[in-house]
Symmetry: C2
């Protein structure tokens, strides 16, 4: 496994591997089993696997946890090595950005839900993903369904800009008790860790009600809020794959999303129906 730090190193590698299939997993590091599942899938489906580790400043808003975001470079390298990653790309911030920048503006559906709380966040996400895509030129790129809105917007960017890349959505990885994996889970104290279970519990209940024929978003939301009644819930939303809120569940085209706060830690979870 090689660590690449500069654009030139990456471009050189990419030139040598020109005719190979490249699987790409962009991350902000602090790798957990969720990332590992993406890397494993990339490993199975491609000749070369490249993981990027870059805590992207442009997707953090002023006052957000950029500086506090967990950084665990050495542990991350070991995990990548164990997963038989070929290359880790770990650039400096000054490598990825210059003073004047051509910017990416995510469409209107980037300003609802996660984008409502974090206006401009997705502009930064798309900007860094586009830069990385152009550098890595992957055959396939792997993203978790957990960041559902991010995944949707990246798929839209690929479609709009005709990027010659296949986006592979990957299932959410959970702890045995149901908690969706997140780099931010480490911030939870024991009590919060227990309460956090009500996110996935509420989604399981909703899925089971949909299985029994329930289609009304308002009824499902009431049930979900009821399960999470002791949490500081930020939102519960039921949307189609374009992130438009819907009144009735449409099978194969609906996502239920929940977000709750635990002091300064926001946890999100969702289920794709």
């Amino acid at each position: 496994m090689k660590i690449l730090k500069t654009i030139e190193e990456l471009q050189e590698i990419r030139k040598i591997q020109k005719n190979k299939t490249i699987g790409f997993v962009p991350t902000m590091g602090a790798l957990h089993d969720g990332h590992i599942s993406l890397i494993k899938q990339a490993r199975i489906e491609n000749e070369i696997v490249i993981v990027s580790i870059f805590v992207n400043p442009t997707q953090f808003l002023p006052g957000e946890d950029l500086d506090a975001y967990p950084r665990r470079d050495e542990a991350d390298k070991k995990i990548c090595e164990m997963c038989k990653v070929d290359y880790i790309f770990m650039p400096l911030s000054t490598t990825m950005y210059s003073e004047e920048e051509v910017l990416i503006k995510a469409p209107n559906n980037s300003y609802v839900l996660e984008g409502k709380t974090r206006p401009g966040h997705f502009d930064g996400v798309l900007q860094i993903v586009l830069k990385l895509f152009n550098l890595v030129q992957p055959t396939k790129a792997y993203f978790g369904k957990k960041d559902a809105q991010q995944l949707t917007l990246i798929q839209q960017m690929v479609k709009n800009l005709f990027l010659p890349i296949e986006i592979v959505p990957c299932e959410i990885v959970r702890e045995k008790d149901g908690l969706a994996l997140s780099s931010r889970n480490v911030y939870l104290n024991e009590e919060q860790r227990k309460e956090a279970l009500f996110l996935s519990k509420s989604l399981y209940l909703a899925a089971s009600l949909v299985g029994k024929g329930e289609r009304s978003s308002s009824i499902l939301k009431t049930k979900i809020y009821d399960v999470m009644k002791n949490l500081d819930v930020e939102y519960v939303a039921i949307v189609d794959r374009n992130f438009n809120e819907i009144e009735e569940i449409q099978l194969k085209n609906s996502i239920i999303l929940v977000v709750a706060r635990f002091d300064n830690t926001r946890l999100l979870d969702n289920i794709w129906l």
Copy 2:
């Protein structure tokens, strides 16, 4: 020569020609000797030459000449055939754009000079160029120096987004009497055609003064305005390669730009020092 109208046709061709060098000339049609010089250079330097003809709606502002923009598809096809172009890509507007779009936001230097008169124009230019680049995946793309600010912004986009494409700037092609070629020259009546000569004349004078050692932008501008005193001049500007206005000419890093109006026709010209 093949005419491609759909994304799928272009992608298919691009897959077949995977390991060839591709020269790309994006145009809005109404091809003239300026375009032909770009195509000829692309023909010399690449195995495959692709020309796109697409009057891009997103770079026209409301009230601009989108509908009146000259369309001469049959003549354009003949010109491309004569220049031994391999493929013309002529998509419909609905092929290139969908309802919701991830947008490109050009940097601040896109709001001076041409961008001041046409705010948002360069956002549309970069958007279509990026889409076309991703579809065509050229080795080299050819742009005229006449649209100097456009060329600069495209170079900046390639740099910022790490696009694996070489941008080739091409010299301005002129009529024998010095008038820079433009698709909009056809709008000039006989009298205006004569007056339009004062654009290039003013630039030649400035270049000769620089050759004699003059470096002051304000003195050069005065001389330029003097040559064009009977024209409806919109601006005269002296900028560095990043389009920042400069007070002193820096050799190899300066561009002098002039724009004048002839009724509804805006003509621009420039010289790279």
